[in-house]
């Protein structure tokens, strides 16, 4: 169940963003979301996001691709239609390796792309944040901080004040707190 976003604030830099998170966290809030034009160093550690498990997906896909390719090569040469090709053995292992490798790479890469997008919640052409006035700066020089509506510690007055004090360019409240 996706939480609604209640508060969005635009900051001028990654450092400010990180500072604001610490400030709000001091106010007891914990359910943050950030939107940045590029990856801000240290942000993920600050938010305590665990390491992406995408690598495992890619490994699995690569194994399926490579293993499947080798199996197919073996099957068509040894089982499906065995033929004497220049006296080479039916199971010519070294010759089967290049395709196996390429298919491992291909499957792994496709898995990497798709998982990166899907795990990142894409494709979503519409997102509540896009309704926020000025959010378009998120790809320019705006570093956005959002707090989920479900955060019990979220308090409109104190949060607004704290963010404005920290130099937020814009503080926007979405719907009722």
């Amino acid at each position: 169940m996706k939480d609604k976003i209640a508060l969005a604030a635009e900051l001028g830099s990654g450092e400010e963003l990180k500072r604001c998170i610490e400030i709000l966290r001091d106010l007891g809030m914990s359910r943050f979301e950030t939107f940045t034009p590029y990856e801000v160093e240290g942000l993920q550690e600050l938010l305590g996001v665990p390491r992406s498990r995408l690598s495992w997906i890619v490994l699995a896909a690569a194994l399926v691709g490579g293993g499947g390719a080798y199996f197919l090569e073996w099957w068509i040469n040894v089982v499906s239609y065995p033929l004497d090709i220049g006296s080479r053995p039916l199971h010519s292992a070294p010759a089967f390796l290049p395709i196996m490798f390429e298919m491992a790479v291909l499957f792994g890469s496709i898995a990497a792309l798709i998982s990166a997008l899907v795990l990142g919640g894409l494709p979503t052409l519409w997102h509540p944040m896009f309704e926020v006035e000025g959010f378009r700066s998120v790809t320019d020089d705006g570093f956005w901080l959002a707090v989920h509506a479900g955060d019990t510690a979220l308090d409109r007055a104190s949060a607004t004040a704290a963010l404005e004090a920290a130099g937020a360019r814009r503080v926007v409240w979405l719907g009722a707190p």
């Binding site: 239609y81 494709p123 979503t124 052409l125 519409w126 896009f130 309704e131 006035e133 378009r136």
Partner: protein, 223 residues
């Protein structure tokens, strides 16, 4: 600095919320279409549209095999005698037809083209039902004389009003039998039978008689 236009300040999101669903459906559609483009020809190639199976052809004479084979008891090889002598089973010449039809049904309207051919000497232009590509060298006689019956490839022609192709005649279909011909063998006196059923002992005996070989080398058919 660059003289870029002023930051447009329209309100709201670029895409409305329904686009999320629409976009995902579109993605799935594209994926399905791509799969379809690959799979559809494979399905088509196996369908009667491509193999030509199951389609009776309009022949110049409405020749009925049911009548000639079942009712009259004429053996396949009476008319298609070259099946045991050469690569082509072929069709009987007009003279062979007239051997009977000079006496029987000799004034029938149905066989008017036959009479015309007999008088003029011009061949009857039949439509070919079973055709293989020119690069395939199929030899009837080696099959017929080594225990492969008519029905194996041509189906129960004695049940057909107009002959149609039953098997796909694809290479895969040929090769399936060529890998292991033994289950398709029959005694030479049952070659033209459409009803013969083997017993397991008989199959063993047949395999010993004909010693069928697995012939999957390319030049068996392609030369």
């Amino acid at each position: 600095m660059l003289d870029a236009p002023a930051h447009p300040r329209t309100m709201g999101a670029l895409f409305p919320p329904w686009t999320n669903t629409a976009f995902r459906i579109a993605l799935i559609g594209v994926a399905l279409a791509a799969t379809g483009v690959i799979v559809a020809p494979m399905v088509y190639a196996r369908s009667p549209f491509a193999t030509g199976a199951q389609q009776p052809l309009l022949q110049p004479i409405a020749f009925d095999h049911r009548h000639h084979v079942k009712d009259d008891g004429i053996d396949c090889l009476y008319c298609h005698e070259n099946a045991q002598r050469g690569p082509y089973a072929g069709l009987p010449d007009t003279a062979r037809c007239m051997g009977c039809h000079a006496q029987i049904w000799n004034d029938s309207v149905t066989i008017a083209p036959l009479r015309k051919s007999y008088e003029s000497g011009a061949p009857i232009r039949w439509q070919r039902v079973h055709s293989l590509p020119d690069f395939v060298y199929f030899d009837h006689s080696i099959h017929v004389t080594r225990g492969i019956g008519c029905v194996t490839c041509h189906g129960k022609v004695d049940d057909m009003a107009a002959v149609y192709q039953v098997k796909p005649l694809s290479m895969q279909w040929c090769v399936d039998c060529h890998r292991d011909p033994a289950p398709h063998l029959r005694p030479l006196d049952q070659i033209t039978s459409t009803t013969w059923q083997p017993t397991p002992e008989e199959m063993t005996r047949l395999a010993a008689t004909f010693e069928p070989r697995s012939l999957t080398r390319c030049s068996t058919c392609h030369r």
